[in-house]
Symmetry: C2
Subunit: 330 residues, 2 copies
């Protein structure tokens, strides 16, 4: 196998800019939220930021995870659709520089992006324009690369347009036919509420592992306790991971359940905590670690990410995680 994990989702370029509080008021933006915006609004926001230094980085939930796995030393591939513009080229270049095999294709629309406005209080207000992401279709799925992967990782964010769904389903059917493991993240509670039935089908039919935070797990199962959500999800899927925010994580594998203690750290910015957890966990799976150790890796990676601004670590990530990676209990 050539890749430990291949991810498919929305490649969004993160455009980070520092703005005064007044900017949010002026644009009637609710602080600390993610809003979906259209192309016109996107253009207006960027125009308003003219002259402000903008930092551009590849982002999007699944890409954050795949880049994290790559930083840890996993062999990764990523598929999605950008635009034929400068940001699209930046996205593909940065993926390759990070060692991710890029199966990103360029479409006609503008590259999707998230304009991230950072106020002086270190809060982030996000404005996501999906753009070219929504153009992903079945013909964009790199079937050869998928067949050369041990695991497919998808997220609920793909359930947006019919084209994206068809692309996801082709990937899922191919994975099943080839005996490739499938991990799915439920993405966010709003996403779950929009696509609950589809997600249930995917989990029952294709996935052997589901990642959900507590809110997503409750929304997906229509229950009000983690216990009940776990009971339902484990009936659908061999392995279930429920993260509990600052309280650790629960991992179920068939009849077995284990609890992973939280790494209690002061959070600077929790953006991307779930993506980072999935990265550590999937890297653990790539090294054939046990599920508990995968959970510890996920928790530890997430705890490092939330101690700094932005959804990804920079610098020598393997050195940072060396104490965990060399843990004899692995």
């Amino acid at each position: 196998m050539m890749y430990d994990v291949i991810g498919i989702e929305n490649p969004l370029i993160d455009l980070m800019a520092q703005v005064p509080e007044q900017f949010l008021r002026q644009w009637k933006l609710e602080k600390n939220r993610m809003m979906l915006i259209d192309q016109a609004r996107h253009g207006e926001l960027l125009q308003a930021l003219d002259g402000v230094p903008i930092h551009a980085e590849p982002g999007g939930s699944c890409a954050n995870t795949i880049l994290g796995v790559a930083q840890l030393g996993g062999r990764t591939a990523y598929c999605g659709k950008v635009g034929g513009d400068e940001y699209g080229r930046v996205y593909m270049d940065k993926l390759k520089q990070a060692g991710v095999a890029s199966f990103v294709r360029a479409g006609d629309k503008l590259t999707g992006s998230t304009v991230i406005l950072v106020t002086p209080d270190a809060q982030r207000t996000m404005n996501t324009f999906l753009g070219a992401c929504q153009e992903l279709s079945a013909s964009d799925i790199p079937l050869d690369a998928l067949k050369q992967s041990r695991r497919l990782y998808i997220t609920g964010y793909l359930w947006d347009t019919d084209g994206q769904k068809e692309a996801a389903l082709l990937a899922l059917r191919t994975a099943k036919a080839e005996g490739i493991s499938v991990a799915m993240s439920l993405s966010d509670p709003f996403c779950v509420n929009r696509h609950r039935g589809d997600f249930e089908n995917i989990l029952k039919t294709y996935a052997d592992l589901v990642f959900a935070n507590r809110e997503e797990a409750l929304a997906q199962t229509g229950t009000d306790s983690t216990h009940e959500a776990l009971r339902v999800l484990r009936g659908w899927c061999q392995r279930v991971v429920i993260t509990l925010g600052g309280s650790g994580a629960i991992i179920a594998d068939g009849d077995q359940t284990c609890f992973v203690d939280p790494n209690s750290v002061p959070a600077v910015d929790t953006t991307g905590a779930g993506d980072a957890f999935a990265a550590g966990f999937l890297y653990g799976l790539a090294t054939d670690a046990g599920l508990y150790q995968c959970g510890r890796l996920g928790n530890y990676f997430a705890s490092r990410v939330i101690q700094q601004m932005g959804p990804r670590l920079s610098g020598d990530v393997r050195a940072l995680l060396a104490p965990m990676l060399s843990d004899p209990r692995k």
Copy 2:
């Protein structure tokens, strides 16, 4: 069977007094801690409180639990040793008024008590004088009542004097011979560190259920993760309950593990949270509820206790817990 649960431990009368901050400084007391004190110091403290209104209530970890079970409607009995003084009489009277069958005997020393100093910031500083509690001996164990109980509940606090230990062992041996279930609370991490070997023996030989908070579980097993502590404890004991402070609880029964969500409430005073959890849990067992429902009852009862001052609820406790007690998922 006459009793759902019989508890044996240290009957301590709680003597609560409101004091200014300066009182703690004057007596060199560390706020929010429990200290063991001798009779002389106990007398000095009470003398210094002369003229201050003192509220006297039966207390002690195990008694708090047993009284909680009784409030919920369980049939309970309690054994311990008080002094032949006024506080001893108050203790026995209040137990009986609460509907607990009292097998408390009066010894020669003064009744044990905890002088609880409540400062204006609502913090509690506790000074415990064990007094007559330490005189408990094997001859004080009410063997007939024990044999008429479904379950024996003891705590690690009994491992103080040789006499108390002999009393506990007689109760444990009798329970084992009679096929009576034994639940043990590890009490506190300092207690565990003093008696780790003894506690391991008790859990392996006599107990089918252990209550521990995370710190106690780690201290008892010499490990640094809840996961590992659970693995060790479930090797000793059929059922293991680990409470996670504000993060919920984990319950293991043989190979099965479940997680109980926290009841997130604003805490006013966390004194007695563990005792209250055990009360709710033991009441659940008395009604033959499943372990998950027992954990929910424990969590809910504890969440009510920490929203007020003092280790016990007053008023109509069954009405307060009615939503939980009538839960159809029981």
